[in-house]
């Protein structure tokens, strides 16, 4: 279905606004259903604990770390509560 057809079906007159709302609708759908699943990989650096989420990711399913002994990605668990840190080289 083209943008023009959507505008005619819905009674929209402004193309820019239609495009923006279409993007909103897609974002809303992707937040609820796994229609387009993807994976992103990034390298782990010794001594660095902070890694940003991928910019175009909408909903997180899992996080895995590569096991270098058998070259497999294994899903890791999430810590719910903040750990008690007694010594930290990167104070915040």
């Amino acid at each position: 279905m083209t943008v023009l057809e959507m505008m005619e079906r819905s009674g929209m007159k402004n193309t820019t606004l239609t495009v923006a709302w279409i993007k909103d609708a897609i974002h809303l759908m992707q937040s609820s259903y796994d229609d387009n699943v993807a994976t992103w990989k990034t390298s782990i650096t010794d001594g660095t604990r902070e890694y940003p989420f991928p910019a175009n990711m909408i909903k997180l399913s899992s996080i895995s770390i590569k096991d270098t002994t058998d070259s497999k990605y294994k899903k890791i668990k999430r810590i719910v509560h903040e750990p008690i840190v007694t010594e930290d080289r990167d104070p915040e």
Binding site: A38, Y51, L60, R78, I79
Partner: protein
């Protein structure tokens, strides 16, 4: 060298980032007279530490991604007998929405809902949003085939 990463690594969500932790359960030891001894001034026990090694492509995220919303060809029509080749493009009125037919119809309902919202017609907005989610749900159930069976009682009319 990382091993049993599903047991020895943990993460915590902090805003738009994650914090990675490695779980260690052990002690710093030294060998004295052929015996391994725990060093008295060193910490031992369970502890969380920062990642202590470099792993190329070691962190993998899995999730839903924002797709290319606008493409040049209709994603619901076969190219001969093959799936169409979809390439993203800047949105124009002739661009196709990169969604199935059912989801495209759902987006039409979303547009109607937003129009009603602008006019302050909340009832109409809620009606169209219900239609939107109904079509999104139908699209999901189209991918699954489920069957239900019920046991009949001994005295049921057959």
């Amino acid at each position: 060298m990382s091993y049993d990463t599903n047991k020895t690594w943990l993460y915590r969500i902090v805003g738009r980032n994650i914090h990675l932790w490695q779980y260690l359960d052990g002690a710093n030891t030294d060998t004295l007279g052929g015996h391994r001894i725990k060093l008295p001034n060193e910490y031992y026990g369970s502890q969380l530490i920062y990642p202590d090694e470099d792993i190329t492509n070691g962190l993998r995220f899995e999730g839903t991604a924002f797709i290319e919303p606008f493409v040049g060809v209709d994603p619901n029509e076969l190219d001969g007998s093959d799936n169409p080749t979809l390439t993203g493009e800047t949105a124009t009125e002739t661009s196709h929405i990169n969604l199935s037919r059912m989801l495209s119809l759902a987006v039409v309902d979303y547009l109607k809902a937003q129009l009603a919202d602008r006019k302050g017609e909340i009832d109409r907005k809620e009606y169209y949003m219900r239609e939107f989610w109904k079509k999104v749900g139908d699209n999901e159930s189209n991918k699954r085939k489920t069957s239900m069976s019920f046991p009949s009682s001994p005295h049921a009319v057959r």
